[in-house]
Amino acid sequence: MKLGYYPGCSLKGSAREFDESILALAGRLDLHLEEVPDWNCCGSTAAHNLNHLLSLALPARVLALAERANLNEILVPCSACYNRLATAAYELGQDDALRAEVSGIIDMEYKGTAKVLNIIEALNKVFAEAGEIKIAKPFNHKVACYYGCLMVRPPKVVKFDRPEEPESMDELIKKIGGEPVTWAFKTECCGAGLSVSRTDLVCKLSGKIIENAVKAGADALVVACPMCHANLDMRRPDIEKFMGKKYPIPALYITQAIGLALGLDEKELGLHRHLVPVILPERAQPAGPEKAAQEKPAAGAEE
């Protein structure tokens, strides 16, 4: 399957391992990713706080470029980028005049044909296409799936999963033999917007998230957003200081978790880049598949 690919700045910088793990998966799951030529910043977060038109024009340009390259579906892994692109597509889809105006600004016609996919949507597509996925090493761990705030909100724009208590990532985890835990902070704010200016708030917010995940008995946090990951991983020392407590629980990208289950090499997946070492306690009965089987017959296909 072929998808357009918009990595955005994070995946080329602080979240390189997200990019690497995606490309690694793509290699394994015959997913052909074609990077949007000459892509630019999505405008998050600064633009839409300052200039509405700019906040539409930036993503619109990316979308228009994709359309030119005949990419009608674009994978946008970073939740912030995803949210901006989706929002632009939504707003311009509502208002032809505005679309014309923005097309003028980027002096390229934006038709609105390109569809934006977040990483979960894309993975679901790939899995659906592949039908049977060879699970080399069931990801047999208790996992707290952390969606973050941007992937599911605002519902009328992204139209993806349940805005308050999403389930799609949990379903993926089951597919690879993991056990998602029920917990309360799936979509709570991690403080990304204030990561630099008010690190103390990040510590408080992200701290609670980690705390709740641990309480729910998770061995790992699985995320789908570079911002979230930065806060949960990179800021861990500050968080631990703030909370006065050590948290060994690692934070992985969903793509890395899947990569491990498919038996990809840790280096390929960029696990070594995390500050919190990815050490996952071996669990007694390697019951991934069966467990999954009970929960979701479809997943029985994994043997």
């Binding site: 349940r162 805005p163 308050e164 208590e165 917990w183 309360a184 902070f185 709570e188 709740n212 309480k215």
Partner: protein, 664 residues
């Protein structure tokens, strides 16, 4: 030769502000057939009406056109005026130059021009109007009341006490509705059942009231004064004439673990059950979805123990046909469940409950006998958070309206809790406190000042479970939006009041209109609050909009008064705007060809077949005939008739044709 008078109203500045009435009058005066045209400040005022009356007499008018507001507003006024001056009221028509002209267009010549044309249209029409005379139809002096909650009960009693027969239909096994489920009522804190049950008994005893419980409306035909309704009496599975309500069947029933509807799921009931001890009638029903016999084909334990041998497993639903003259819809409301709230856990936390469930907890007859215990582990909650406006006033949730009762009952709940658990902490999250009502504000103050309930102005963004507590995250918007977290043992959501699931279906059966939220629409929001736009059908209680008990009861009595007025004479006169099939001298008799393609098209089955015979009684031809009692005047048959044998009084082909031609 017609002599038409045209009367142009200024409606103060409302019309004169944008339309030039003098010009309209002047032009109208020149229209063929018009012998008199005049403009005046307020036609609907007494002097205005006198102007018309005098003109009718002096100028010997054969038709009147009043160019003013919408006929939906003042047509009755001016037709009455015409009648007083001796002109058949149906020779008076209105041109709507306010709602359809002066109010919606700018002050330009085009607007005045339009007003003139609107007048011309009506002049051309009225020239062809015929005198019409009201149709008298008999009235069946029996009322059908749908729903036996407090509103239905009140309406039924009032109508019955006025000396008319009432059929009271309730879908549940017992009457009483939501009010029977409530613990105490605000603002007096008197016990709900204590004040309701005597009324329930009165209903059961009343000689004029026939009670149909566990029954539902099947269909409605006919029209005001002459409705034919079918009622489905669902099979109770017992012979009510034999059953003494001893209750042995329920005691012996082996299936006892069925969540009780009456207890809002907090209590259990057997498969053969009476919803609650004071039920009226006090006769059980067999819940076939859960009865072992219907599921597995054996059991019949109740049958063995019933001394009266009243159990009837083979009982079938029964269709009862009634003739009624009026219908009162009082089918009440429903509330949103906790599962409606993703941010509050999609109903997965047992200790997050609805206000109605709290009523059961607080009720002396409830599952906990009035002790406040949390559903999960039966512990007495030390901290309860009450959330007002759960769903209500939230466009994002599709419920932009205010449910009206939540502010009050939430205050009541907090109060009841504090009375029962003195050291307990009660918090209320609210948007605004809407306590408009006699003694209401005082009641809320009491909760805050005397019972120390903590009111926090703010919304709750999320509830989650941590360490066996429910963590309630919100913000206090009065204290600079400080985020707050309260660790609660129980959370009570004042969930939104919504229309019943099948409210839309009911509305369509009754042919009354309903609003976007499926509450039935009243005929006029201010002036006709208990009537619907279908004559003879009235609304009472929360079926029309969220209401508290006193309002529901008041509306019920109002509806009853309307019904009583309708029943005050044995005949009512209806607008003669109905279809007629032409009759001609022999040999044609009628241009109707008797194809009867109109028969099926009539929504009211008003088209009959009439056989025309000669003196010897030989059939000459069969032609259509319209039953004036059934015809509602929609005119569908008229448009359908190829030979134009059918015409619609008040909107005849000639009239409408002339209206169109007047535009040329």
């Amino acid at each position: 030769m017609s002599r038409i008078g045209v009367f142009i109203c200024h409606c103060g500045e409302n019309i004169a502000g944008t339309v030039d009435p003098a010009k309209v009058a002047e032009t109208a005066a020149k229209m063929p057939g018009v012998v008199y045209a005049v403009d005046y400040k307020y036609m609907c005022s007494d002097p205005g009406q006198n102007l018309i009356k005098d003109a009718i007499k002096e100028k010997k008018l054969t038709g009147v056109v009043v160019a003013a507001c919408s006929p939906r507003m003042h047509e009755p006024t001016f037709r009455a005026a015409s009648a007083e001056a001796g002109l058949n009221p149906f020779l008076c028509e209105m041109a709507n130059i306010r709602e359809h002209c002066s109010w919606v267009h700018e002050k330009t010549d085009a607007t005045t021009e339009k007003a003139i044309e609107l007048v011309r249209i009506m002049v051309e029409k009225v020239k062809r109007n015929r005198p019409l005379y009201p149709i008298k139809v008999p009235v069946t002096k029996t009322a059908l009341v749908l729903g036996a909650g407090v509103a239905g009960i009140q309406a039924a009693l009032d109508i019955a006490n006025a000396g008319h027969k009432v059929a009271l239909v309730e879908r549940e096994p017992s009457i009483g509705g939501h009010m029977a489920q409530l613990s105490e009522t605000f603002p007096t804190l008197d016990c709900s059942q204590c004040i309701l049950t005597p009324r329930m008994v009165e209903v059961a005893r009343h000689p004029n009231i026939t009670l149909y419980t566990y029954s539902e409306l099947e269909s409605v035909e006919g029209f005001i004064g002459n409705f034919k309704v079918k009622i489905r009496k669902k099979a109770r599975g017992i012979d009510e004439t034999l059953c003494t309500g001893c209750g042995i069947c329920s005691q012996k029933c082996p299936r006892k673990k069925i969540p009780s509807e009456f207890e809002a799921g907090l209590g259990l009931r057997p498969a053969i059950y009476v919803p609650f001890p004071q039920a009226v009638p006090n006769k059980p029903v067999i819940d076939r979805k859960n009865c072992t016999y219907y599921l597995k084909g054996k059991c019949r334990v109740c049958e063995k123990f019933c001394e009266k041998k009243a159990i009837r497993f083979d009982q079938k639903d029964e269709i009862i046909e009634l003739d009624v003259g009026a219908i009162v819809a009082a089918t009440g409301y429903d509330i949103k469940g906790t599962d409606f709230f993703p941010e509050y856990g999609y109903g997965k936390y047992p200790d997050v409950i609805t206000g109605l469930q709290f009523e059961r907890l607080a009720s002396a007859s409830g599952p906990t006998l009035g002790a406040i215990k949390r559903p999960s582990d039966g512990k007495e909650p030390e901290t309860i958070v009450f959330i007002a406006c759960a769903g209500s006033r939230d466009p994002a949730k599709g419920i932009p309206y205010c449910s009206k009762i939540c502010c009050m009952y939430t205050a009541k709940h907090a109060m009841l809790y504090k009375h029962k658990v003195h050291r307990g902490k009660a918090y209320v999250f609210y948007m605004d406190i809407r306590a408009g009502g006699k003694m209401y504000e005082e009641f809320v103050r009491r909760a805050i000042e005397e019972d120390g309930v903590v009111y926090i102005r703010g919304r709750v963004s999320r509830i989650y479970e941590e360490d066996g507590k429910l963590v309630v995250k919100g913000a206090d918007t009065l204290l600079g939006g400080e985020p707050i977290e309260i660790k609660a043992d129980m959370v009570v959501l004042a969930t939104a009041m919504v229309a019943n699931k099948d409210a839309e279906e009911l509305a369509q059966k009754l042919r009354v209109s309903y609003d976007p939220y499926h509450f039935l629409s009243e005929a006029h929001p201010k002036l006709r609050p208990v009537e619907t736009n279908t004559a003879g059908i009235f609304v009472a209680g929360a079926v029309q909009a969220p209401k508290d008990i006193p309002e529901a009861v008041a509306q019920a009595s109002a509806a009853a008064a309307k019904v009583a007025a309708l029943f005050s004479s044995s005949e009512l006169s209806r607008e003669p705007v109905i279809a007629v099939v032409n009759r001609l001298p022999p040999p044609e008799y009628s241009t109707c060809t008797g194809c009867f393609l109109c028969e099926k098209a009539c929504p009211y089955q008003a088209i009959e077949r009439e056989e025309i015979r000669d003196k010897k009684g030989n059939l000459i031809k069969t032609v259509a005939r319209i039953n004036p009692g059934l015809c509602q005047g929609c005119g569908t048959c008229v448009a359908l008739c190829r030979v134009k044998a059918i015409d619609l009084e008040g909107f005849t082909n000639e009239q409408v044709f002339a209206e169109v031609c007047s535009l040329g």
